[in-house]
Amino acid sequence: MSATPELTLSMAHRLLARSNDGILAFDRDCHYIFWNDAMERISGMRARDVVGQKAFDLFPFLVETGEDRLFHRAVAGEEVTSHNQTFSVPGTKRRGIFDGSYGPLFDDAGTIIGGIGIIRDVTEHRRAAELLTETEQRFRTMADVAPVLLWMADPDGLCTFFNQTWLSFTGRTLEEEWGVGWAEGVHFEDFQRCMDTFNQAFSQRRVFEMEYRLRRADGEFRWILDRGSPRYMPDGSFAGYIGSCADITERKALEDKLRDAVQARDEFLSIASHELKTPLTSLQLQIDSLERQLQIRPEEALRGGRLASGAKAVSDQADRLARLIEVLLDVSRINAGRLTFECSDVDLVPLVKDTAERWRPDAAQAGSELIVKVEAASGAEQLVVHWDRLRLEQVLSNLLSNAIKYGMGKPIAVTVLGRDGGARLQVSDQGMGIAPTDQVRIFERFERAAASRNYGGLGLGLWITKQLVEGMGGSISLDSTPEKGSTFTVELGR
């Protein structure tokens, strides 16, 4: 075994020179007697300029920060420390923060001849820590004022942070939401799907997006869109997830409404196209036939009323097309709020009688007798209301056409009653009737109680009728029993 080498003074100097911490020594009067390389780096001052100088003359900050007392206590034999002291070196303009550790310096006889100090420059460390605190604080502030719900999960999938917006939304504390506590607020129908999405994304470190219902503080479940994204430490290691959520309840409701509206519009376009093509088909065939007959059998076509009957058929179909287009325009006007009324004094009695007369042939064809009853109050001859005459005729026509279509060939009654401050118009059939569940629906657009599409028409008649009546300040109601018939009642103000 070789003998342990003895540490020489020069070896001790080199040892001290290698230290990353500053090492200094001073005599009982606080004159520096040692200043290692690290102290040169920290202070920016060479040992030769420092050694022999009195510490407090050279560095006034020692007095300003009270560090001088530690020098004296070390000389008195105490071990003392200081933390986060600021320093500023006059000649070099170096400033920073240091931790100091002081103690007595003994000679070989054990007598205190001064003190030693170990100085650690913590400037960068402190700045980094402050920056981190500031960053963290800024994040919390931003998170708490953000209008979205934010959460963070650790690498095990446990949620460790919820912003104030989240906590206010759910009305729960961070402790309650912590870990998987938040999932208690998820609607049970969405829970499993939610957990599956979360866990699957988590295990694959994928960005995920999910929608679920979350219980709000007031107990109402709200639709939430939650987007989660994995986050990583600066060294690239997985740190967990961060996620943001928005309340999309209103948006979802709007989307549903929009989808319904688009569907209704498509349905309408499809029905409208079908209804327009029907008269167009016979119109086209009639014209083609006339053309063909005139071409190959001109004599015969011009004789025997062929031309006249063809022209009549063409004209009928053109009328039908015009009526359909009028209905479509009404729909468009109503939708755009551009429906206007030209009101004047209208005597209901002749209007109802004339309109009924026009529908009598159609009623007869369907096998229905049309009965008009007038019940004027106090024997008055007239029943005058201030309404739009053409629109009133349209209302009655729509109701009559409806009664004929669904009246199953049974009698149809039109009744006009004089009432205080107005009149009442009723159209009753004894046909198939309308089930109670359908009685509100039939006044809506594109609805008809009869099996969809098996009856011609746009399914707009009653909707338009209701819009017209209400537009003129009246009201319409329905009283119907399935298999017994329906009575539509229109109340008209003056």
Binding site: S270, T278, S282, L285, I296
Partner: protein
């Protein structure tokens, strides 16, 4: 009667009738008038039920059925399903008249070989009818008369 080709040929000569099934009065009138003017025999029905009743009563099926799809009581699809279930009627060719492309995609209707989209042109209608029933008898007569 062992040769199916001969049967078809015999039928083509014998059977000239067309059944028009449509709920719209004006279309039924326009189609039947146009076909009668070519000399075809035409029967009409305003829904699938009426058409089936007529087919069950007639002892000689028509050479072709023109079928609308959207009709009350029994629509074209239900008619077609009933027709395919009846071995006597299943073979009668059907030409669908439709204004609705989507309805024509239903299975029982999809198998129908011919389809006429509304609005129909007379030329296309006569071509389709002629492909099943031969040229209009009246046109034929007029043509042979003019050749004499």
């Amino acid at each position: 009667m062992t040769d199916p080709g001969a049967l078809m040929e015999a039928d083509a000569h014998r059977c000239q009738g067309v059944l028009v099934v449509d709920d719209d009065d004006a279309i039924r009138m326009a189609v039947s008038q146009a076909l009668r003017e070519e000399g075809y025999e035409v029967a009409t029905a305003s829904n699938g039920r009426q058409a089936l009743d007529w087919l069950h009563q007639c002892h000689r099926p028509p050479c072709v059925i023109l079928l609308d799809l959207m009709m009350p009581v029994m629509d074209g699809l239900a008619f077609r399903e009933e027709q395919l279930r009846d071995p006597v009627l299943a073979g009668v060719p059907v030409v669908v008249l439709t204004a609705d492309g989507r309805a024509a995609q239903r299975p029982a209707i999809r198998d129908v070989t011919r389809r006429l989209a509304k609005p129909i042109r007379l030329g296309a209608l006569l071509d389709v009818i002629a492909s099943y029933c031969g040229p209009g008898p009246r046109t034929l007569t007029e043509q042979s008369a003019s050749r004499c």
